[in-house]
């Protein structure tokens, strides 16, 4: 009898968990639908922004603007900034772990000193547990990506950069590779020039009309205005992408969990029924044995 009760309790507990994972699955699905809509609307803007930036850099006269200048400090003296976007909550499969792994890898590769700017609670917790200092008063949540959030983050980072506290800045976020597949991406945000992978040494064919742009009021001021804009758009888009990816991986994780719970319940039910049958058989044997014993008197 004791075994029967144990199995029953197990089944009940798994059913309870399954209810939670099922609810989380539903929530993630709804959020994902909204997030995806948001992301699709933003995609055009992001693409236009990138095109514009590439064009600008291609036509820009040589400039000593701080946003474009590569640091001339020794590699071991450089301070690298890492802006990483993690989720506020766990239970999203490997979503958060993948970001942490990528940041660790990047820090090892770059060497020098690091300043870590974390968006989202899980990232902060991870570094605290591993005794890695992060920038303490940089506290932003990734739960609700808005333009305002992007602007706040950027103004914080630019302040650090302009005060000379950073030599370069990387962003580490998760992008949706396809509808179901997420991928961690690393991009260099500052200095801007090297983040776009354009080959500036490439010869321009002579017979092609090469437009000459005017920059008003001056190239320097255009960079001053355009680069923060571009970065703002980049950060905002990365926040949206990451949010989308987080919901998608949570959805998948919860789906798997719910399915696993179903199989477990099915197996336990078989076990339970077997145990129940065993008990009944035993009772019958006992009764019939008792009856036989009585009749043989």
């Amino acid at each position: 009898m004791a075994q029967l009760k144990e199995i029953r309790d197990r089944i009940n507990s798994i059913q309870g968990t399954q209810k939670i994972t099922g609810a989380m699955y539903m929530i993630a699905t709804t959020k994902l639908r909204h997030a995806r809509e948001h992301r699709d609307n933003n995609a055009v803007y992001f693409a236009a922004l990138k095109n514009l930036m590439e064009r600008l850099l291609r036509h820009l006269p040589e400039s000593e603007h701080p946003f474009l200048r590569v640091s001339d400090k020794l590699p071991e003296e450089q301070i690298h900034g890492y802006l990483m976007i993690t989720g506020d909550k766990g239970l999203a499969g490997a979503y958060n772990q993948n970001i942490h792994k990528e940041v660790d890898k990047l820090m090892r590769k770059n060497g020098g000193r690091s300043k870590i700017f974390v968006v989202g609670d899980t990232g902060r917790r991870y570094f605290r547990n591993h005794n890695v200092p992060t920038v303490e008063d940089f506290v932003f949540s990734s739960g609700n990506p808005t333009h305002h959030l992007g602007r706040m983050i950027l103004s914080y980072l630019l302040q650090h950069f302009q005060a000379g506290g950073l030599d370069d800045l990387y962003i580490i976020y998760t992008a949706m590779k396809s509808a179901m597949e997420a991928e961690v991406r690393v991009r260099q945000l500052l200095p801007v020039r090297s983040s776009l992978d354009i080959d500036l040494s490439r010869d321009v064919p002579k017979d092609v009309y090469n437009e000459e742009f005017i920059f008003s009021p001056s190239p320097y001021e255009v960079i001053d205005a355009v680069v923060p804009n571009y970065l703002n758009g980049y950060i905002y888009s990365a926040l949206i992408e990451s949010f989308c990816a987080e919901q998608s991986s949570r959805m998948l994780a919860m789906q798997t969990a719910s399915e696993a719970a179903s199989t477990m319940i099915k197996d336990l039910n078989v076990k339970y029924n077997r145990a129940r049958q065993g008990v009944i058989t035993q009772e019958i044997t006992e009764v019939s044995a008792g009856a036989e014993a009585l009749s043989s008197i």
Binding site: Y45, A48, L52, R55, L56, H147, A225
Partner: protein, 134 residues
């Protein structure tokens, strides 16, 4: 060549796509007019009111946030973080944002906060101005 192809893109999608006869933009150092066949340029835009005349000679207005305009080969691309038509503006929200920004501007602790609030005040004022003029 009395029109030019124009694309106005904001962070929530394509705001305008079509041919224009004229365009007035809020540049960093004042308003500026753009006509077909304009010289190639890249110019930074600040929060303000954008005016454009479409192929039927009708003027339209929009409140825009920060961004950039580029003009090349008689094609114009405007990339801004926000763009709204007058009828899309929520006056109540803009008023609240203005009040909030003004209050916080007075208590701004750092230069960073001051700039953030100044920008958000400029956005609110632009929206209100556009609605009032309409």
């Amino acid at each position: 060549m009395n029109t030019f192809a124009t694309q106005i893109i904001s962070s929530d999608g394509v705001f305008y796509f079509g041919r224009l006869r004229a365009l007035v933009i809020p540049a960093v150092d004042g308003e500026m007019g753009v006509l077909p066949g304009h010289e190639e340029m890249i110019i930074a835009l600040k929060e303000g009111i954008l005016r454009y005349k479409d192929g039927k000679d009708v003027w339209h207005k929009a409140a825009i946030g920060r961004g950039t305009i580029q003009f090349a080969n008689n094609r114009c691309t405007i990339v801004v973080d926000t763009a709204e038509k007058p009828e899309e503006i929520d006056v109540r929200r803009a008023m609240e944002a203005k009040k909030r920004a003004e209050e916080q501007l007075q208590h701004a602790l750092s230069e960073r906060e001051y700039r953030l609030m100044q920008a958000s005040l400029a956005r609110a004022l632009t929206r209100l101005k556009l609605v009032e003029n309409n």
